[in-house]
């Protein structure tokens, strides 16, 4: 993907993130994620029904990478089964860690395919995905 397009998608997701703001609803599972090596701190809530991810919402204060990838992740995972979501997450992690991955299932998340060139941002790019993975793994 063209670098300018990647940038504009990232900035768009950062400035107008999907589903930002938590709601008061007991049917959601909640998790807090924070990055020990920096100051990102995001809360997530996820609603799973009949094994399908119905909704994910988030809130908090974090850098452009963390915030935008939270938004991208939410768009990518809603509507997927728990198992499909876990496959996507593991592919995303492989991409960030420079391992082999299937780019066809990553959707917009492909814009982070060069983050490995900035090692200090890898954790930012992984933070939201790790949080949701923790919930999904418990669910299975």
């Amino acid at each position: 993907m063209d670098a300018n397009l990647k940038r504009s998608l990232l900035i768009d997701n950062f400035q107008n993130p999907q589903n930002k703001g938590l709601i008061d609803d007991e049917s959601y599972i909640k998790i807090n994620t924070n990055n020990e090596s920096c100051i990102d701190e995001l809360d997530f809530m996820i609603k799973i029904e009949d094994d399908i991810i119905k909704d994910i919402r988030f809130d908090g204060e974090a850098c452009a990478i963390s915030t935008s990838t939270a938004s991208v992740m939410i768009k990518t995972l809603i509507g997927k089964t728990v198992k499909e979501a876990l496959t996507i997450i593991s592919n995303y992690e492989n991409m960030i860690d420079e391992k082999a991955y299937d780019k066809d299932i990553l959707g917009e998340a492909i814009i982070y395919d060069e983050i490995y060139k900035q090692p200090n941002r890898k954790k930012c790019a992984l933070l939201p995905w790790n949080g949701i993975k923790e919930i999904l793994e418990k669910y299975i």
């Binding site: 670098a3 990647k6 940038r7 990232l10 900035i11 950062f14 920096c38 100051i39 990102d40 204060e61 974090a62 850098c63 452009a64 990478i65 915030t67 814009i111 060069e114 983050i115 060139k117 900035q118 200090n120 941002r121």
Partner: protein
């Protein structure tokens, strides 16, 4: 000679702009050489040998104690205890002295802008013995005033523990006035001087504080060494946490231990000899520079920084009125860490985050900031570079991805 030529970090990194001196400072060559000299020419343990190189080590080690005593104007060298740094100094003090000194329901006065190391050890003590923390209100400039201290003092108040200069806001607290009022009310005063001893002239007798702690590495010295100062009669009651060699006068198989007097009693085991020797060299260096001049230069530099940053209406400054070289700021609508990483692209080092003062956000109403902390080797030219780079912040988010 240009001061910057004396710092290998500055000589070897010509393009580097280092604005994170509140975190740690660069070392002048004479500090590095003093450590090298110890390892290459007279390595030996302190306080033990009957041979020349050990006597030299002893002389250098105890020599630093005298240098520290003079540097902060303590009454005697025995009031100077070497620690691993400010954090250890505070923990030693709180666990070794205040745990015995305080009773259930006694009150400790702190502020929300203290560093974690002047909060967490007190939290634990409260859990252990049932004493209580009371926060002094900060004024609109986030400063501590004597009036606000008085408002929180009552018959249960037994200790006030404050940073001399805070590491986020950079305000200089009126310790002398607070100590004078505290002593009239039988309250002890602890000073976290990690950000003051490196930057201003500190005179413990003039301040009349009861205890004071600081770190070597924030004042051109090596990491892993620091100082705990206490008035002799009080320090003498501090119960050592570490027992072992060098601190006992005698002991019997039945377990009767007789401890040495100060300062050895509080320095069990082989100390950080290279660190103490390096700290001695750092004090020699700072004494030559003259701390009053260091402070004067930093204040002028900070004023220049504020003036230049104000040219840019996208910059929000949080502590314009503090009298030290610390400046907290953000770029409008930009997360502090993104600003720091953007500046890093231009080899400018600033710190982003809550700066170990995680409860200050309640006062600042903003969680994270970028912090610039200046030292005497920073220059106006470096500030000009920062200002010009910050002019392009429209580009900031364009640079995030490669």
């Amino acid at each position: 000679m240009d001061i910057r030529e004396e710092f290998p970090m500055l000589v070897n990194n010509k393009d580097l702009i280092y604005f994170d001196n509140g975190a740690t400072t660069f070392k002048p060559k004479l500090v590095i050489d003093s450590i090298k000299d110890y390892y290459e020419n007279y390595t030996s343990n302190a306080h033990r040998g009957d041979y020349n190189i050990s006597l030299k080590t002893d002389m250098k080690y105890e020599g630093t104690r005298k240098k520290v005593k003079d540097f902060i104007n303590a009454s005697k060298p025995e009031e100077i205890i070497f620690t691993s740094g400010t954090t250890e100094g505070l923990n030693m003090l709180i666990q070794g002295f205040f745990k015995n000194y305080l009773n259930k329901d006694d009150e400790i006065l702190l502020t929300k802008s203290e560093h974690a190391s002047n909060l967490l050890p007190w939290f634990r003590l409260c859990e252990e013995i049932g004493c209580k923390i009371v926060y002094i209100d900060l004024d609109k400039d986030l400063k501590v005033t004597l009036d606000n201290v008085k408002k929180k003092v009552n018959s249960k108040t037994k200790v006030i523990s404050l940073a001399h200069i805070t590491n986020v806001v950079g305000d200089i607290r009126p310790i002398k006035e607070i100590a004078s009022y505290a002593h009239e009310n039988n309250i002890l005063v602890v000073v976290d001087a990690a950000q003051s001893v490196p930057h201003i002239k500190v005179d413990v007798q003039d301040l009349d504080c009861d205890f004071l702690v600081f770190s070597g590495h924030k004042m051109c010295g090596p990491t892993g060494v620091g100082v705990l100062y206490g008035k002799y009669e009080l320090l003498d009651k501090l119960k050592p946490y570490n027992l072992g060699g060098g601190m006992n006068a005698s002991f019997s198989p039945e377990g009767n231990i007789e401890l040495k007097s100060l300062p050895q009693r509080l320095e069990a085991g082989t100390p950080n000899i290279e660190g103490v020797i390096g700290l001695g060299a750092a004090i020699d260096y700072l004494s030559l520079l003259d701390m009053d001049k260091v402070h004067e230069y930093e204040v002028k530099l900070k004023e220049y920084l504020v003036k230049r940053l104000k040219e840019n209406d996208k910059i929000i400054i949080y502590n314009e009125n503090s009298e030290s070289g610390i400046l907290a700021f953000n770029v409008k609508d930009v997360f502090s860490q993104d600003t720091a990483i953007y500046l890093n692209d231009y080899n400018i080092c600033v710190r982003a985050g809550s700066h170990c003062a995680k409860i200050l956000k309640e006062e600042l109403d903003i969680k994270n900031t970028c912090r610039i902390s200046l030292y005497f080797y920073n220059t106006k030219e470096e500030i000009d570079k920062l200002v010009s780079v910050l002019k392009n912040t429209d580009m900031l988010y364009n640079q995030i991805l490669l």
